[in-house]
């Protein structure tokens, strides 16, 4: 067997913070081996070099969600990241560690997550089964395939990394954020839940505020794919009784894309835009396009693609 160990001297440059002193960078030198996790490196710094360093860590196995931070600028769980891997990836034995973005700093690598938890509670994160089920009078079985679908989104460990990386959370107070959407969808999609109407009210408007930038998808250490949960939540829009303006705009946008594809097999941006925002709303933007000389792209008449009938079959689910 080829279990060789290597050792390496590294410098961890940690961005520190205290309310009294503000921010400063501090460097720690230490020897790591092929197996050293960042949580272990931090623990060694704290017990051997500098006991004043503050950070959160608990399970050291990527299930408790305590140790989110930025390592060489990447949002990561410190326990799920090996020091040597980062040194090799960046070709340098100097590695920076910073607190997660977006959240308020408390001390060194510890940030204030209260606002994050509030977002999680907003989606009512618990099952509301029928009374008889809850009291054990009747048994309600769950299909294995439903279990698999729900479990994917239930595995969120509330680490906050996706929220720290999401560009919309910062600018849109109404947006619940990726983690809350994953949790919300897990209960929305549970066939045993009884408050679907209320959940749709909480989730649908918010789901149309996401920009599909996939940052949450990229950073989630548990492979939850919050953006997938958001997409799936949007699909509930047609069931919703009340629709907000954001939802209506979003819905029209999708409908326009659908029709465009159905007609020509292509995404005709101009048409999609026009049907989404309506003629009046579009005129302002068209003036801008005229001025910048881009309108010729917008007004190009698309010819349908050759195998359009195949595309139409797929879109309408008509397999005959």
């Amino acid at each position: 067997m080829s279990l060789q160990n290597e050792e390496m001297d590294v410098v961890l440059k940690i961005k520190r913070y205290s309310p009294e002193k503000g921010y400063w960078w501090q460097e720690y030198k230490l020897k790591v081996d092929r197996f050293t996790q960042f949580t272990e490196a931090l623990r060694r710094i704290k017990s051997e070099q500098d006991p004043t360093l503050a950070y959160r860590a608990s399970c050291h196995m990527a299930v408790c969600g305590s140790c989110g931070m930025k390592i060489n600028g990447e949002p990561r769980l410190a326990c799920k990241t090996l020091v040597m891997d980062m040194a090799k990836k960046y070709g340098s034995n100097v590695i920076t560690i910073e607190p997660m973005d977006y959240f308020k700093p408390v001390k060194d690598l510890i940030v204030d997550l209260d606002e994050f938890y509030q977002r999680m509670y907003k989606v009512k994160p618990r099952l509301y089964p029928h009374k008889d089920v809850l009291e054990g009078i009747v048994e309600q079985r769950l299909k294995p395939e439903d279990q698999r679908e729900l479990w994917k989104f239930a595995q969120c460990i509330w680490c906050g990394l996706c929220v720290s990386a999401c560009p919309v959370v910062v600018i849109d107070q109404q947006f619940l954020g990726p983690a809350a959407h994953a949790k919300g969808y897990r209960f929305l999609a549970d066939p045993r839940d009884t408050i679907t109407e209320e959940r749709m009210k909480i989730l649908i408007d918010s789901s149309w505020r996401c920009t599909y930038c996939y940052q949450c998808f990229n950073v989630c250490p548990r492979d939850i794919e919050p953006v997938t949960a958001i997409k799936k939540t949007r699909a509930y829009t047609r069931l919703a009784k009340e629709k907000t303006s954001v939802t209506q705009t979003g819905e029209k946008h999708i409908e326009a894309i659908f029709n465009s594809l159905l007609e020509s097999g292509k995404l005709e941006e101009a048409k999609v835009y026009l049907s989404t925002y309506g003629l009046l709303g579009s005129i302002k933007d068209f003036i801008y396009l005229f001025q910048s000389g881009k309108v010729k792209y917008a007004l190009v008449k698309e010819k349908p693609v050759e195998n359009i009938s195949e595309i139409r079959k797929i879109l309408t689910g008509d397999n005959k």
Partner: protein, 566 residues
């Protein structure tokens, strides 16, 4: 000094604490749950394999709760209280079905019922699971449920430091808000200790960093006893060097342990059972190989899965594969996984009866790994611990409710006592220079690992005791460099160390005292189990710098001790 008042304060927001909180709050009492970390960061999240349960109509037709009790009693080398094991077995199905209704996403059979798998020591398969993250799934479910109740106040990132007691009666608890170091006296009619285990006492452990045994020490200092404190479980296959658990399932599926020469060394230690011998035997075998120079440099052996084939490994042993990959950079389909034993579980705990009540102090209760109801005896069976947290968390909650119904207010005032206890926290670190916690901590962890670990003998235990006494002296020179009041983790690490030293003293003394080998307690100088003299529970009190030991009989119902043959 700030003060708040509750009917009940629960220390710990793992499965045991939350379950107790749910029970008490549902009965209409107000509850404070104090936790060092946000509830879902509790160690319960780390449990992998599953939770044992006999479910009526959804178990092997030949199985019944009596077999389950028997397996538990035998697994625990007959130090188990059999009435407690019976209760555990008989309530197992009910509690798992309750969690199922609360939304825990248990794996399913094709017909939609909760699925089941085999675990070590079970006559019939009984383990229910959620992928390989059962603990995480259950903890989130119970937390989400309990946080929806309204009458439970969560004080997370709060550090519980000392029980306040007067005339053998619990009056509350002192805790610090970790964010600003403000000490608060939580007045309470009852306190439930559900603070989990103590793995950080050992150099090598599968436990979370926060498992520092605070609850045991708090109970000891208030005058309550620990039951069976010498029984510490070591798991043979923890990943090197991060000590992440590689489940027994790996060996169950055919993985083989090899030394540096490539030999399947278990043939020497357990010729019949080989790699599937009980945890304590395999742990001892691995350490013997290492000690005799046949381990790998660094002190580990290899767990070889490569012959099982890539597809099989990825399908059946996903977590072992993943853990090896992310935490050791090892591709288990091509290389052996580096493993060695590590501390895993604490069978000892705050002495409570089958209802969760401590006999020493009125108003003191305990549940989960912090407690010793004695369902695990000398050696815990896999997937019985999650079950214990829920069953006895709920039982304890119910007992507390009964206790509150007949509660009468004491007349004496104890605010002065509480003030003194807050001062005692600062006493721990009052020096202006000297040593900081890390220096003492690392020595303690080495001492416990070397002398109070898998192998024990009189000389080693005496060495450990004198080292622990010395470290307790050194602690008087402990000081805190960080002068900030904001999230001063150094201060709390220092308090944890004080707790660890109190507990270490009790463990080492009790281990020296028990002159036999039983379950996880293995004495090189007394290698046989001795039912004649030692079929009894150790009851240990901390009196300043010494430990007072008495005994309690083991409760037997149906099962007489047999020789432990495998």
């Amino acid at each position: 000094m700030e003060k708040v008042s509750y009917d009940v304060v629960i220390v710990g927001a793992g499965l045991a604490g939350l379950m107790a909180a749910h029970e008490v709050a549902s009965a209409g009492y107000n509850v404070a749950v104090i936790s060092k970390v946000f509830p879902t960061r509790s160690h319960s999240a780390a449990a992998e394999g599953g939770i044992a349960a006999y479910i009526q109509g959804n178990s092997d037709p030949n199985d019944n709760p009596d077999y389950m009790t028997y397996d538990t009693v035998k697994g625990g080398d007959y130090l188990v209280d059999q009435d407690a094991a019976e209760l555990l077995a008989y309530k197992s199905g009910e509690i798992v079905m309750l969690l199922e209704r609360w939304g825990a996403l248990f794996n399913r059979q094709p017909d939609g019922r909760v699925a089941v798998r085999y675990f070590g020591g079970q006559t019939y398969p009984r383990t229910r699971f959620v992928g390989d993250k059962t603990g995480m799934a259950l903890l989130h479910t119970v937390y989400e449920r309990t946080s929806g109740l309204g009458s439970v106040d969560f004080y997370f990132e709060w550090f519980a430091w000392e029980l306040v007691e007067d005339d053998n009666r619990i009056r509350g608890i002192i805790a610090f808000d970790m964010r600003n170091m403000v000490p608060v006296f939580f007045k309470a009619k009852a306190v439930v200790i559900a603070s989990g285990g103590m793995g950080m006492l050992y150099r090598h452990t599968t436990n979370s960093y926060i498992n520092t045994g605070d609850g045991y020490a708090m109970a000891l200092r208030a005058g309550a006893a620990l039951k069976d404190p010498e029984f510490v479980q070591f798991h043979p296959t923890a990943l090197y060097p991060s000590d992440i658990l590689i489940s027994e399932a790996a060996r169950g599926e055919g993985a083989v342990l090899r030394n540096v020469k490539g030999e399947r060394f278990m043939a020497r230690y357990a010729p019949k059972k080989l790699d599937l011998a009980p945890r304590d035997i395999v742990s001892r075998a691995i350490l013997t190989e290492v000690k005799e120079g046949r381990g790998f440099p660094g002190g580990y052996v290899g767990l070889d899965l490569t012959h099982l084939g890539e597809d099989y490994i990825k399908e059946r042993l996903a977590l072992a594969y993943e853990a090896a990959k992310s935490f050791a950079g090892i591709d288990a389909t091509k290389e052996m996984i580096p493993v060695r034993p590590a501390q895993h579980y604490y069978m000892g705990g705050v002495d409570v009866d089958i209802t969760g009540r401590n006999p020493d102090l009125i108003g003191l209760f305990a549940a989960g790994e912090a407690a010793c109801v004695s369902v695990h005896g000398a050696n815990r069976l896999g997937s019985n611990s999650l079950l214990e947290t829920l069953v006895f968390g709920r039982e304890t909650g119910r007992t507390v409710v009964e206790f509150l119904k007949s509660y009468t207010e004491p007349s004496s005032d104890i605010d002065k006592e509480a003030e003194k206890m807050i001062d005692s926290a600062y006493d721990v670190v009052k020096s202006e220079s000297g040593v900081h916690f890390g220096e003492i901590l690392e020595k303690l962890r080495d001492t416990m690992w070397d002398y109070v670990g898998v192998f024990r003998d009189e000389n080693g235990l005496k060495t450990a005791l004198s080292e622990i006494m010395k470290l307790r002296e050194d602690m008087k020179k402990m000081y805190v460099l960080d002068k900030s009041k904001v999230y001063n983790t150094e201060f709390y690490n220092a308090l944890e160390l004080k707790n660890m030293l109190d507990l270490a003293l009790v463990i080492a003394t009790s281990a020296l005292n028990r002159k036999e080998s039983r379950g996880a307690h293995y004495r090189l100088d007394f290698p046989e189990r001795d039912d004649q003299n030692w079929l009894k529970h150790t009851i240990a009190y901390l009196r300043g710098n010494s430990v007072e030991i008495t005994y309690k009989p083991v409760k037997m119902t149906k099962w007489k001790p047999e020789v432990r043959v495998y």
